[in-house]
């Protein structure tokens, strides 16, 4: 017999750290534990020696079916999932409560994309300005 049912944040972290190519996952998640882990009610899973230098997991799609979620916890769940699976973009669900989680993840991804583009643009402009200053001919060269 199984000890408990459902995968907790600890199990998901193990999976994300060890299977970095994972793109699609469908298991029963213990959402209550995910919420508790996100708000600090349970200790975060300690990274083992093998998984300490973590490479981002490629997971983009999580299938959650009809898993119930606690009322008002969509944002917390979305943040917890983004923390474990930074590239997640799609939640496949039957329970419509997950729509809010999906929307939050989408919004977050758009925001990160926007910030990334801004940072890249700023970095290029800064680099370009610095290069102009460095390459500018000085009076001594003449």
């Amino acid at each position: 017999m199984r000890n408990s049912i459902g995968v907790t944040a600890k199990g998901l972290v193990e999976l994300a750290c060890r299977c970095i190519h994972l793109s699609l996952l469908r298991v029963h998640i213990r959402v209550d534990n995910l919420v508790q882990a996100a708000v600090g009610d349970v200790a975060p899973p300690p990274p083992s020696a093998e998984t300490a230098s973590r490479v981002e997991c490629a997971l983009t799609t999580l299938s959650v079916g009809s898993i119930p979620i606690p009322e008002g916890s969509a944002l917390t769940i979305a943040m917890a999932l983004l923390h474990i699976f930074p590239r997640i973009s799609k939640i496949k669900y039957i329970n419509p409560d997950w729509n809010d989680v999906q929307n939050t993840i989408k919004l977050s991804n758009q925001l990160f994309h926007h910030i990334g583009a801004l940072t890249h643009s700023l970095s290029r402009r800064t680099h370009s300005t610095m290069t102009r200053h460095t390459d500018a001919p000085t009076g001594d060269a003449q």
Binding site: R2, N3, S4, I5, G6, V7, T8, K10, G11, L12, E14, L15, C17, R18, C19, I20, H21, L22, S23, L24, L25, R26, V27, H28, I29, R30, V31, D32, N33, A58, S63, V64, G65, S66, I67, P68, K92, I94, N95
Partner: protein, 273 residues
């Protein structure tokens, strides 16, 4: 036009691949008209429900394939009517085919014992799909087989028959179980995979059970090169997609190349505890 053509003259003498999906009873008798010695691929899916397709007509058509197309490379026959005459015709067709050229044999049919003997020794077969019902399969000596789909309507005794089996190139296995006696299926599959060295090369394993089942996932830990693992079984009393941290950690440690992991059906509304 089909009814007025000259008899024994193929309509399209240069046709290499005949592909016809949603094949109806009305069209079935005309299929041989399209086939010729140049045809090397036959891919037919009958309309569902198959009860609308006359069995004897289908059986009669199937038996013409080896004569009309002596160099067949690929045969796909899906949604065949479930009838003994059809199963016998499929078996007779296989027995009459050129065994050295056949690369794909995908039929939704059982086979006679003689046909199973032939099937298990096809030297160039790459893709195989068939139904096993209350039958044993001889040891599979298929050195070029890469993809295998077996539909079980009975037990899985064939998995215990691995002595002398050669499956050096098998990378994809799909097993569909339509029997309530699933039992220790994963244990039996693991033993088969290890005995045939399939365990070191297998990249995709999909298992679908029509009946609720509590798989022992620890039997899969030897399949270290899996990139896709799907074990689909319906929810009844408990959620079939329920695994715990121990199981998921063991799988993650054993299979670092996983890209797709699906355990159970869509998670149901059960409250986790």
């Amino acid at each position: 036009m089909l009814q007025h053509r000259t008899l024994n003259t193929p309509l399209l003498p240069g046709l290499e691949a005949f592909v016809c999906h949603e094949t109806t009873a009305a069209f079935t008798p005309f299929i041989p008209s399209f086939l010729s010695p140049r045809t090397v691929v036959i891919d037919i899916k009958f309309v569902v429900p198959t009860s609308e397709v006359p069995e004897l007509m289908v059986a009669s058509m199937i038996t013409t394939f080896p004569t009309l197309c002596p160099n067949l490379l690929e045969i796909t026959l899906r949604h065949l009517p479930k009838d003994q005459a059809v199963f016998t015709a499929v078996s007779d067709m296989l027995l009459a085919c050129n065994r050295n050229t056949l690369q794909r044999f995908e039929v939704s049919s059982t086979l006679t014992r003689a046909a199973r003997e032939v099937l298990s020794q096809l030297p160039n077969l790459r893709e195989l799909s068939l139904i096993l019902s209350n039958t044993l399969l001889p040891p599979l000596v298929l050195p070029n087989l890469a993809k295998m789909e077996i539909v079980h309507t009975c037990g899985h005794e064939w998995l215990r028959n691995s002595n002398g089996a050669t499956l050096n190139k098998l990378t994809t296995v799909c097993l569909l179980i339509f029997s309530p006696h699933v039992g220790d299926f994963l244990e039996a599959f693991e033993a088969f995979a290890v005995a045939t060295s399939v365990s070191t090369k297998l990249s995709t394993l999909s298992i679908y059970s029509e009946y609720p089942w509590d798989p022992n996932y620890s039997s899969l830990l030897e399949l270290k090169n899996l990139t896709e693992l799907q074990v689909l079984t319906p929810c009844r009393v408990t959620c079939s997609s329920t695994v715990n941290d121990d199981i998921i950690t063991d799988l993650a440690r054993a299979m670092p190349k996983l890209r797709i992991l699906q355990l159970g059906s869509e998670p149901c509304g059960i409250r986790s505890a």
